[in-house]
């Protein structure tokens, strides 16, 4: 009998501890799942929030002017709308419609073929942005290499000046830049925007941080192998900084593609102005046109981001710079 009780006790003991274990396990598992769900939900909401204007522009660019007027005239200049009365009667809020009642490419036809101004301004943007991207990438890569891997007198002070200039608001350097451009006779010339763009300080800062992560032993090994400073730069530093350089190129491209103040100030001639100023010139009555132009305007930026997303992430991560 006693022997039997022992058996029972033994049998009971084991499952008891197992239950405790499983309870603990399930307890932590459920809290873990709740955290995960909250994480995902937050991310979905944020994504939706940021995607909303992009998707809205894209889908609405295929709507007719009439449909757009119905959707948005309640919150814009009603005097321009022929549907004014109806809209006012129905509601006083904008209606965010994502699916066009009838798909039309008329806005794109107008922007790209009928009115040539868009294409001209697009090319102006390209003429401004591409040299700045190439120039700043080359200059910043070389300067960052010097700051990160060479020891020379005044290096830290010079870099400190770079940081000071970088931290200054754009408006502070605008006036000196304007005066210098005036002295050089570059006003109303793309070079007045391209030169300050090429010698931007942010790229040097970003790439210096990135290049400092490259172990000096690679450079020393290359030196012993017979490489000079330029060969080390081209064969070791540049390939190993690929992500950082790509990240810089994209950031510079986005920044300069969207510039507004510089062309407004430096380019008095309206015929020379870039695409970033086109949207502000579209009449309030041409909302469909604005949607199509916006979609076309953001396409190069989006494509470049999607193409080099991994480089961008890695570049920013390894340079230790937070966005």
């Amino acid at each position: 009998m006693k022997h039997m009780w022992n058996k029972v006790a033994k049998i009971n003991l084991k499952p008891k501890s197992d239950i405790h274990k499983s309870l603990r396990k399930h307890g932590s598992l459920s809290s873990h799942s709740v955290t995960k769900v909250l994480h995902v939900a937050t991310l979905v909401m944020l994504t939706a929030f940021f995607l909303f204007p992009l998707v809205l522009s894209f889908t609405n660019s295929f709507m007719s002017e009439q449909e757009i007027a119905v959707n948005y005239d309640a919150v814009t200049d009603k005097s321009l709308s022929s549907y004014n009365a109806d809209v006012e009667a129905s509601n006083s809020f904008a209606r965010f419609e994502f699916i066009p009642e009838m798909v039309t490419l008329k806005q794109y036809y107008t922007v790209l073929i009928k009115k040539t101004q868009f294409l001209f301004m697009f090319w102006h943007s390209v003429f401004l942005t591409v040299p700045i991207v190439i120039g700043q990438t080359v200059v910043a890569t070389l300067a960052a290499y010097a700051f990160a891997k060479f020891r020379f007198r005044g290096r830290n002070f010079l870099f400190f000046l770079y940081i000071v200039v970088m931290l200054m608001p754009f408006q502070v350097t605008l006036v000196p830049n304007y005066l210098i451009a005036g002295k050089l006779g570059l006003l109303n010339n793309y070079l007045s925007i391209i030169f300050p763009g090429i010698f931007g300080t942010f790229g040097v800062f970003l790439l210096k941080q990135y290049m400092e992560q490259i172990p000096d032993s690679y450079l020393e090994a290359a030196k012993v192998d017979g490489a000079g400073a330029l060969q080390i730069f081209l064969k070791i530093i540049v390939p190993l900084s690929k992500s950082g350089i790509a990240a810089l190129a994209i950031l510079v491209f986005i920044d300069n593609w969207n510039m507004v103040e510089q062309p407004l100030i430096f380019l008095q001639d309206a015929d020379k102005q870039p695409l970033s100023l086109y949207l502000s010139r579209i009449a309030a009555g041409e909302k469909g046109l604005a949607f199509a132009a916006s979609t076309l305007y953001m396409t190069p930026v989006l494509l470049s981001f999607l193409y080099a997303e991994n480089y961008l992430m890695e570049g920013i991560r390894l340079s230790g710079i937070k966005g």
Binding site: P215, E220, V224, D225, L240
Partner: protein, 375 residues
């Protein structure tokens, strides 16, 4: 292949930090010289100065007949293997090995031939298309060696090349580098803090401390005849036992008095120490664990019956082929090597026999080994 000559080399970093002081050394052609010492002793600085990666503050470096003080690294005809291998991560094994040859603008066919030859020596033929990130530690090490040998330099410089490998692989690579040295018949200068590497690989060892050379000699000579207390303590595992002693003369015999217990000093050495004026003076007695024996090693102990002291066993360390006893004698701990089957009881009494013919005597102030050759 070349002779390497360093004459009164000094390296002082900004802030007046002296890394290397008055370093003079001649490295013979085809020699395998080891620079050994604790961290911060200046051994890597010496290697980097030979490589041209560090400027020398004063002195002269000659490779062959040429003074290379102001010659760039690339023109010194040296190759270097770095501690972290420094393999270019974006290049394949082939391109890593061919890097230096391409810079010298050798014909493609010649580059291919030399890389494949080096890959054959090191067993890298199947790895030539891989990138360093896809290789194991040992393979990376081989590639680093390959990158060095492919250039057929006059001098190979190696900066702790095995320190990132596990113990087993380190043993294997030690052997491979030694074989490589024999096959290539070139001068090797090798930096390590691992005395096993120093003892097993080098034809000569330079022991360094605080930027100064402590001793230059063949490995066995360094082990048997350490020039000073530092070298004696640095070489050997476990380290040499050091006991403070006063030399006394009694009954026509010189004794080492260990504040209570006494050990007889062999007659010839006792006489020598007496002549040098160490009688009634304090010295440091150094004796290695293998020159001590435990109670049960009776055969050994019988050889020096007068040199037996009693101590308390603190603990024993079994290392497979031998066991080390940590015994406290007169308040000092000594390590004794015994057979692995030696019966030990921690806390129990152990009689330790001292083979005084193998003992070293160091001056207490200058720490110099004052006895003549004990072997």
């Amino acid at each position: 292949m070349a002779k390497l000559k360093l004459k009164n080399i000094c390296k002082i970093y900004p802030g007046n930090v002296t890394a290397v002081r008055d370093f003079s050394l001649e490295i013979e052609d085809q020699e395998f010289l080891i620079l050994v010492g604790p961290s911060g002793c200046g051994k890597t600085t010496v290697l980097r100065m030979i490589a041209g990666l560090e400027e020398i503050t004063s002195g002269e470096i000659r490779i062959g007949d040429r003074v290379v003080n102001d010659v760039a690294s690339k023109d010194r005809d040296i190759a270097m293997v770095f501690q972290n291998y420094a393999l270019y991560p974006h290049l394949t094994v082939y391109d890593n090995m061919a890097f230096g040859l391409k810079l010298r603008k050798l014909p493609k066919g010649e580059i291919r031939k030399q890389v494949q030859e080096a890959a054959g020596i090191l067993g890298l033929e199947d790895l030539l298309n891989r990138r360093p990130g896809e290789l194991s530690g040992g393979q990376r090490q081989r590639v680093a060696l390959g990158r060095a040998i492919v250039r057929q330099p006059q001098v190979f410089l190696m900066d702790e090349p095995l320190s990132n490998l596990d113990a087993q692989l380190r043993g294997q690579m030690r052997l491979e580098i030694t074989k490589l040295h024999k096959n290539l018949e070139t001068t090797f200068v090798y930096v390590t803090h691992d005395q096993t590497e120093a003892m097993t690989m080098g034809t000569r060892i330079v022991v360094m401390k605080d930027g100064l050379i402590q001793q230059i000699d063949q490995p066995q000579t360094i082990y048997d005849h350490p020039a000073n207390l530092f070298v004696a303590g640095f070489t050997g595992n476990p380290r040499m036992n050091f006991l403070e002693a006063t030399l006394l003369e009694q009954d026509d015999c010189i004794w080492a008095d260990l504040s209570g217990s006494r050990l007889p000093v062999p007659a010839a050495r006792g006489q020598e120490l007496k002549e040098k004026g160490y009688l009634d003076k304090k010295v440091i007695l150094g004796i290695r664990a293998e020159n001590l024996c435990g109670e049960e090693d009776s055969r050994e102990r019988e050889r020096y019956p007068e040199s037996t002291l009693e101590g308390i066993l603190e603990f024993s360390e079994c290392r497979g082929p031998e066991t080390y006893l940590h015994v406290r004698i007169d308040g000092k701990e000594v390590i004794v090597r015994v057979r692995p089957d030696f019966q030990t009881i921690p806390g129990g009494k152990v009689k330790v026999g001292f083979n005084m013919s193998k003992a070293h005597f160091f001056d207490q102030e200058s720490e110099v080994n004052v006895g003549s050759n004990p072997y």
